[in-house]
Symmetry: C2
């Protein structure tokens, strides 16, 4: 598989993205296409060992989509950006997948415009794969569409079940609808409209409304929500883990005696960290786009970027878009009138 990479995306730019992506080269991710500004990218490619260099290609893109740009228009306004050109490589069949650590909303809107949707899918969804007490869970949408219509969430669930079965190896994943309480009467207007729609999907292991405290428990494999709420839930958890870690560090180093204990305890604390480390997973699939498009966190460091590249290759190899098309069709979730009438998503 040939994976195109937005070399300009992410907080650290090509100096991190190029060497990190190269670490992902394997049988599945056999070739990499780095898209970006010549002056920024080429020097990092030329610094590679020759065996790696031979499997990498440079594609010029003079423009950059900035994080502050409006998701709905940025890629359209910048057809020569690394994001637009990378997506075009997938659409033209020159690449099998695309990875970007740039503006996630822009990747989504750009992918929608350039690659298009899987037939039958109304709106792609951005997923995150979470580490849990046992196994992993998927949370979607993560911000691709901040104000979705009710039946979009039904399609999100079907797409996630497909991905969970084929990529994560979970035979019959449990699906929950994120809400402010488990009772049927809970939820905002969107949740109250989505609940009966999800209950009506044949063959889905849908367990109803679930609370956000379940996200990392590992009892539910798929959490469906709108992109705004999903983003807030994810960042709430990231923030809580980060603050708890800081407080822990402060307390276990408060006295010399505690410092000595903490040193001896280090292997255990490192294991805690590894078990909750998003870096170990890295890369969120944009499900519903008619190609393999993986969005990495803006703050992604080496391991997260490398994992995102591997996930892009695997998603392509498993032909996830075609599988999603089949799943949506067999669930016969009636598509709405032409998507063009739905307007562009909010950032």
């Amino acid at each position: 598989m040939r994976v195109a990479i937005d070399a300009m995306g992410g907080d650290f730019g090509p100096s991190l993205v190029v060497p990190a992506s190269v670490k992902a080269l394997n049988e599945e991710a056999s070739h990499l296409l780095f898209v970006g500004q010549r002056s920024e990218v080429i020097k990092h490619l030329d610094a590679l060992e020759s065996a790696d260099r031979a499997r990498c290609e440079f594609i010029e893109a003079p423009d950059i989509v900035e994080m502050s740009e409006h998701a709905a228009t940025s890629v359209r306004k910048k057809p020569r950006s690394s994001m637009a050109i990378g997506l075009k490589l997938v659409e033209d069949g020159q690449a099998d997948g695309f990875v970007s650590a740039g503006h996630s909303g822009a990747v989504m809107t750009g992918a929608l415009a350039i690659i298009g949707r899987v037939p039958g899918v109304e709106r792609p969804a951005l997923v995150t794969v979470l580490p849990t007490l046992r196994g992993r869970s998927m949370l979607l949408d993560l911000g691709a569409t901040t104000d979705p219509r009710p039946h979009y969430l039904v399609q999100y669930a079907i797409m996630a079940v497909t991905y969970s079965r084929l990529v994560m190896g979970v035979a019959n994943p449990r699906v929950g609808l994120l809400s402010n309480g488990e009772e049927r009467t809970k939820g905002n207007q969107l949740v109250q409209e989505v609940l009966p729609l999800l209950e009506a999907v044949p063959g889905m292991n849908f367990i109803g409304n679930v609370e956000a405290k379940e996200l990392l428990r590992g009892d539910i494999e798929i959490f469906v929500t709108d992109g705004f709420t999903g983003n807030v839930a994810l960042k709430s958890m990231e923030g809580a883990v980060s603050v708890l870690t800081d407080i822990l560090r402060e307390e276990v180093t408060r006295t010399p005696f505690r410092k000595a204990l903490a040193l001896l305890m280090r292997p255990a604390l490192r294991q805690v960290r590894t078990r909750l480390d998003y870096e170990e997973i890295g890369g969120a699939p944009l499900l519903g786009v008619n190609g393999s498009v993986i969005v990495a966190h803006g703050r992604s460091r080496e391991r997260a970027i490398a994992n995102a590249v591997r996930v892009a290759a695997r998603t392509a190899a498993q032909e996830i878009p075609a599988e999603i098309e089949r799943a949506i069709r067999s669930a016969s979730v009636a598509p709405s009138p032409p998507a063009s009438s739905a307007g562009l998503p909010h950032a």
Copy 2:
């Protein structure tokens, strides 16, 4: 101050609520009025020491509002419930404040119907006070209104600033609008409509869109959001802290050597727990109701209930409703047409 208590609310009922509330008796919370079923409550009152018993009163309420009932109608349908009667005591001036660990949506709707709003306030908001790296922060709304109109959030901010100044002692609290990114272009439709409204409030220390990872950092004192998102954010954090604690416990007791270390490390770990303990705070004010109404978490144990009772007494003593009325008036946030046309909130 005389505080009425929903003796039937919460996961543990009167056997916990009665003795826990009595622990809160002090100069400010001088008298308690326990509202509930005679057969369930009176035995716990009669078990009290005589000095405490003399400051407690029993008020009969044969009905209970269940957690599964619809928030919008439950209190109205059950005028003889502990929740309805407790709120009535405040409205009639027989109590200065009310505490319930029952269905938070029902408390909100009931308080709205029985006590009514502070003049000028359109919709009350349920607050939680969060422990942070340094100091405390407030997050609102926590589920009182799951689908608010944009200007409700402006009033939430004004109410929280008032409470923060008078009860929490923060002179000029920073206010952030919870969003899926800091950029102005981020946010769902609600956030994009609220941002310019908050920017226009004179004298408010508004810092714009903020991400959920800031909630426990302590750099921002007030986070404003809709009730659905606030609830999801809070439970995401609670879940993450709980799972991280579980993983930590597993790892530090994996071997006999680690167990020994963990024993020596116990005081440090206990301090971590205390610093992040919601029990230390307990009780969320329902701001905007024309009386002191405090909602405790359904899972509240002794310390959280006692703190909620103290907060109810203090909120009454500080005359928070009157202060909010002044703040809303001087900010001249124009009220919409009569609230009756706005319909009842979603659960």
